[in-house]
């Protein structure tokens, strides 16, 4: 078992942080890499990016949004309990370079994935501007850590309850009009990444995105995670999860993410009846 050492709830309990003892993975993981977790014998294999690692204490941190049956199950795990299986580190690490000015854009839980990458770009000597957003103030995560990892942080909420009233893309446009940016990173919901990339493409700013297609093995064995990048099929688990955002077919990715919606609705109903009984 991989025990949970520390646990936090954020965004009113819709986002959960687990710091998990997995020393072998903690020693090796780099920003941008992910793990696959399986809670118990009957559980699903769920990919989550590492939001932090601590080789000293042998722990990795994941931050996940509670969206379906498996993440609901994860949420029930208390400190001292844990996961039967964790596999990783998987995927390619982010290529951290000294590019000059780097713009890190994150939305929703994507901010958790963005944070270690942001920090690494800063440590590599870049000037780092952050833009993070959420639907409403209560759903915003990791503002303080993002503030520490950036030279300049902008916060947006869709409903204007905090920070800039509007989308991350509004702030993005303002900054691109203001100064030269050498590299962008965008991580969040697929539509957000799609719109960010549309803007940075026009501005000619190379943009990395981190993709989250449905996965099974995470080792390039099943092809379920295939995404179309520059017209070619790539496996996000081994060729990614980060890709050149200007080449990704986001519409296809969005459709493919819905592949099991009917089945998941069924399991949702099933769980609801169990609770109802």
């Amino acid at each position: 078992m991989y025990p949970i050492m520390h646990r936090e709830e954020m965004s009113g309990g819709t986002v959960v942080l687990n710091e998990i003892h997995a020393p072998q993975i903690a020693a090796r993981a780099k920003p941008g890499q992910f793990v696959i977790l399986k809670a118990n014998e009957t559980g699903e294999r769920i990919p989550l990016t590492m939001a932090d690692t601590n080789p000293g204490s042998g722990t990795i941190t994941v931050i996940y949004q509670v969206v379906g049956a498996s993440t609901r199950l994860f949420k029930t795990l208390a400190v001292g309990q844990g996961y039967d299986d964790i596999i990783g580190p998987l995927g390619k690490p982010t290529r951290i370079e000294k590019a000059g000015t780097v713009l890190c854009v994150g939305g929703g839980t994507g901010v958790a994935v963005l944070h270690p990458i942001t920090r690494a770009f800063k440590q590599a000597g870049n000037r780092v501007i952050g833009i993070i957003g959420a639907r409403t103030r209560g759903l915003l995560i990791l503002e303080d850590r993002m503030a520490a990892a950036t030279d300049e942080l902008h916060v947006c909420t869709d409903d204007g309850t905090y920070g800039h009233h509007g989308f991350v893309t509004d702030v993005l446009k303002t900054i691109l009009a203001r100064e030269t940016v050498n590299q962008a990173v965008a991580i969040g919901p697929v539509p957000m990444m799609k719109f960010v990339c549309a803007i940075t493409r026009e501005a000619g700013v190379p943009t990395l995105v981190s993709l989250n297609p449905i996965m099974v093995d995470g080792t390039g064995m099943c092809g379920g995670c295939r995404v179309s990048v520059g017209g070619e099929n790539r496996f996000a688990c081994v060729d990614g999860p980060e890709f050149d955002g200007h080449k990704v077919d986001f519409d296809q990715l969005m459709q493919r993410l819905g592949a099991y919606r009917a089945e998941e609705a069924a399991i949702g109903a099933e769980h609801a009846c169990k609770i109802g009984r």
């Binding site: 090796r28 998987l90 089945e263």
Partner: protein, 470 residues
Amino acid sequence: MEKNTQTWALPRQSMPEQDPQVRRSNFKEVPLGYTEQAAVMEAKRCLQCKKPGCVQGCPVAVDIPGFIQKIADGNFDEAIKIIWRTNSLPAVCGRVCPQEIQCEGACILAKKAGAAVAIGNLERFAADRARAAQAQDLPAKEPATGKKVAVVGSGPSGLTVAGDLVLKGHDVTVFEAFHKAGGVLVYGIPEFRLPKDIVRSEVAMLERLGVTVACNQVVGRTVLLDELFEQGFEAVYVGVGAGLPTFLNIPGENLIGILSANEYLTRANLMKAYLFPEYETPIARGKNVVVLGAGNVAMDAARTALRLGAETVRIVYRRSRTEMPARGAEIHHAEQEGVEMFLLSNPVRFCGDAQGRLTGMDCIKMELGEPDASGRRRPVPMPDSDFHLACDLAIVAVGAGANPLLTGSTGGLKLNKWGYIVTEEESAKTTRRGVWAGGDIVTGAATVILAMGAGRIAANSIHKYLTLGW
């Protein structure tokens, strides 16, 4: 020794099976196994040939007349011991070997009496009986050598290496990427053909012998092969299989409802999605399913789809029946259950709706032309023969390639042009000192028994190396 001259002409004992109409909606094993009586009757058909063709037909040269004689004598405990000398997974091989082109294909009775001795069924009988009777006394182990061996991959070839070397007194650790050991035996071949309890008991047996099975270890990611040497392993066996899905590369292949057989079968078998929602992994349940390809993998996918409630399941294959690479028994079982064959048909494109879901497939009819490099007649498209097949689930089972995850992160391994590891045939040594390889990652997708045979060769060579040097 009793002469079996009168009994050989008796009909081959058939194996009782679940009725096709019943089994097409459950995941329980299809053939039910011989009774003791039937096994003895069948064993008595064997002529005990002086120069047995059957043994030559078996890639690991099981002493077939030897173990069959013991069954004929009712001495089942001795029978299994004879098999174990050369084959450590008889319950598996008895079920999945392509016997008709191996042992049974070379049995004299195949010609003489029209039906070979049912060697596979008898091997299965002996192994199942031993497992049920818990007759698996641990084989004798040699004294500990203190030498550490790493086996990467827990498929049949890795398990064979582990079993052989632990008995020779070495300290063996198996590294497996998945959360369960067994390779294709657990993630690929379905429960109705190979119950997972059998694989589990084989792995448990190795653990009782002292093998450490370390799951969730992706070598090349979690740990590098080079680091295994730093950790004190003196020899490494690479048996990572041919785990790379092949797609058709035709338009529309990323529509929802098109999966590789690897994904479909992994969800169904390893993740037990057929027990959804008790097991939480979902699986696409198609009404009208097409399976592209005609090997064992395709048959397994097709029969799984039926069991998951499909109304029609169609195998679409570009060559003809004689070229179908699946075991005869699987094709027969699939047809009995209602799988339809669309032979000499080639998919051209997939069609979908506005939501990106698969709705059908355009195909073209083929005819057989001149033989190609593989000696099989090459299928060529017939002009103006397009036709459309409506389907909501398509499973692509047209072969597997070499997964570059380990080989790409390990220096010093020579690969061939398809990415498979190059080894010395008689020793299974790779071009890197201290590293051996075998099974599908060397030969390309092949068979369980060939993977085990390669494991045996490597184990002997590794033992020699650990005692005498490279």
